[in-house]
Amino acid sequence: MTQFSKDLSVFREEIRDWLEANCPEEMRDGAITERTICWGGKNWNFTSDAQKTWLDRASAAGLTVPKWPTAYGGAGLSRDQEKILQDEMGRINARPPLQSFGIWMLGPALLQFGTEEQKLEYLPPIARGEVRWCQGYSEPGAGSDLANVQSKGEDKGDHWLINGQKIWTSYADKADWIFALIRTDREAPKHKGISFILINMENEGVTTRPIQLISGSSPFCETFFDDVKTPIGNVVGEVNRGWDVAKYLLTHEREMISAGGAGLSGGGRAFGAILNDEVGGLSDPILHADAMRAEVDALSIGLTIERYKDMAESGQGVGDASAMLKYMGTELNKTRHELVMAAGGSDALEWEDGRAPHWLRTKANSIEGGTSEVMLSILSKRVLGLPG
């Protein structure tokens, strides 16, 4: 376990030296694409030795989950330290050593609602990239109306007996475990009868079937539970109070989606400059103007992400307002990829070129994790206090 100084200027030196010594050269190309991401998990095939080395070294230092407490595999960094880490990684263009739903979603929920045993059991393997999680929220009849989930769990004393179907489960076919919203009380009002249950994907009765996306890849699946058994203690938070956990997790998911694909947080190259390079000058005035607008918005949304983190750190609850980040960030990301395609012209129309799949994938940004319309409804009711 590497010990880092609390003194920020000393810390910056330490991190710089640590990165210099530990981040393999090949991991310094700043690439974050479907092909370069390290998702981890039991069945993970490392794309290179460097990817494995980078994960091992980073997780040994707690830097895959820098802000988590050291007891759970993190480095216990403060927000200021985390900013410096991001800065310094950005400076050498380091790839993130590990990305996962465990880090973005389940981790924060367990830290908030999990028992000490659950934290010790589930968090360190997430930090080390040994276990890969997927999210079992949506069902055919429960999309925007998520609280309408019908997959049911029966209390059988030492275990839950689970039956039902999930859909749009990203990477279910690659995941080791799933966190799922399961109806455990059919009599209660719909928000009050749901539990947040952890299920091993290797258990008997769990099957997945991939669904192909318009972008050509098939990262998400239908997931079926047929008489699946999971230990009775695998509930996060209280039984039938899973909706609280689910909502808390969603605020983290939304913040991640708002910043994630868009590359809005931290430094990052100007989007317009990237377009400029790709097409050899934005000669079309309309495209140029649109790129300027997108740049103004991107920088400002990036600052808003930072401001909201600062607010959270200083104890000012952000809560429902995270729906704003999700809405603004994802709509912008879609706009930016429209610009990429327009700048690319007919070159970008060939699959080989690689721009089209990204462009197509961004269309899901304003759907996954709650649609833009749902975000606006949350804001209008819970932040603005409008009736209805």
Partner: protein, 371 residues
């Protein structure tokens, strides 16, 4: 950099300002001035000065509070919420920042008079219908040891009521900033009736004689004094615009909760809910850009250009959306002069142009970001 969260001091400043302005200068105060054919209320400016606002950026040695750009933005935002008519930005922000760059005896004396509320300044830069200081052509011909100024400046905000003018002119070798009393021989001011009911003038200079003492900073190097002053002004103006957007938005959300049609509050209609939520989202994003500009100006002024242009561009887009949505969601009443929304709409249009419009600042952002 300091966090993008208001400090306790900033929160107190905002609260105190709001408390005072709700009593002394609600929107009806501007309406009253307009109806009386006036653009300025000297008693209000005196009260604001007595509270230390005129001297918010003036050094303590000259009797100011020396609180910096972020604090000026906090005040400007409160002024914007109720469209307070005052020379705060021209005088307390722009002129004070320019004079501070020079800080010789004469400049310090002027700063003291700004802080006490005795002296009002206006900035005379524009020559065409768009802001373009670097392209100023107004002549300052070198004559002996001095200069002779000829030309016209338009959209001189607060130019009608100002005691002094900061005038940008071209000597042929470069741009020079002059600090002149408005009663100097050869200066003619025509006040212009502006849509926002605020003070502005067109100023004509005919063989106006100036000496080296009238130059602020160095001859042919106006920008080293003017640039920081413009940036402080642009950031404060962006904050004022965000305040105006918040004022218009607040009225609109209240109306959505009150007004009934089809037997229910119109705020139940999802079409309006989503438009209101979108507008609120835009205001939140703009607030971040403005807070960042204030922090950069205070902590890293030499690198603040990007942050300032970002803030002014965002504020311009946001306030214009806020007033347009404001009128639309009020229906017919939004179009009436008796209702305040029109004042917000007109002020939004004027502030959109002043000190650089959306395109000016978006181009700066793009340029600084390498395209």
């Amino acid at each position: 950099m300091a966090k993008l969260v208001r400090t306790e001091e900033e929160v107190m400043l905002a609260d105190a300002a709001r408390g005072f302005l709700d009593g002394a200068a609600p929107v009806s105060h501007l309406r009253g001035l307009r109806d009386a054919g006036k653009t300025h209320d000297p008693a209000l400016w005196k009260d604001m000065s007595d509270m230390g606002w005129a001297g918010i950026m003036v050094p303590e040695s000259a009797g100011g509070a020396d609180m910096g750009a972020a604090a000026a933005c906090v005040l400007a935002e409160e002024l914007g919420k109720t469209l307070v008519s005052s020379p705060f930005i021209s005088t307390a922000v722009i002129a004070a920042t320019a004079l501070k760059q020079v800080a010789d005896d004469r400049a310090n004396a002027a700063l003291a008079k700004i802080a006490s509320g005795e002296m009002i300044y206006a900035l005379a830069v524009d020559e065409t219908n768009k802001f373009a200081p670097e392209a100023s052509e107004m002549q300052a011909k070198k004559v002996g040891n001095g200069f002779r100024l000829n030309g016209t400046k338009g959209f001189v905000v607060d130019g009608g009521l100002a005691d002094r003018l900061l005038v940008l002119a071209n000597t042929g070798d470069g741009l020079t900033l002059f600090d002149l009393p408005t009663d100097r021989t050869g200066i003619k001011r025509d006040t212009t009736a502006m849509i926002d009911s605020r003070d502005a003038a067109r100023v004509t200079f005919t063989d106006v004689d100036a000496t080296g003492d009238d130059v602020l900073g160095t001859v042919d190097d106006a920008m080293s004094v003017l640039k920081p002053a413009l940036q402080a002004g642009q950031a404060a103006l962006a904050a004022e615009m965000a305040g105006a957007a918040a004022g218009a938005f607040g009225m609109t959300v209240e109306y959505l909760k009150e007004r009934k049609q089809f037997g229910v509050e119109i705020g139940r209609f999802q079409a309006l809910q989503h438009r209101a939520a979108h507008l609120w989202s835009e205001t939140e994003v703009t607030a971040s850009a403005i807070m960042n500009a204030g922090r950069q100006l205070d902590e890293n002024p030499d690198e603040a250009e990007l942050a300032v242009s970002l803030a002014k561009a965002r504020a311009t887009a946001t306030v214009q959306l806020a007033v347009q949505e404001g009128v639309q969601m009020h229906g017919g009443i939004g179009m009436t002069d008796a209702f305040d929304m029109g004042f917000y709409m007109k002020r939004a249009r004027v502030t959109a142009e002043w000190l650089g419009d959306y395109g000016y600042h978006a181009r700066k952002v793009a340029h600084l970001r390498g395209f």
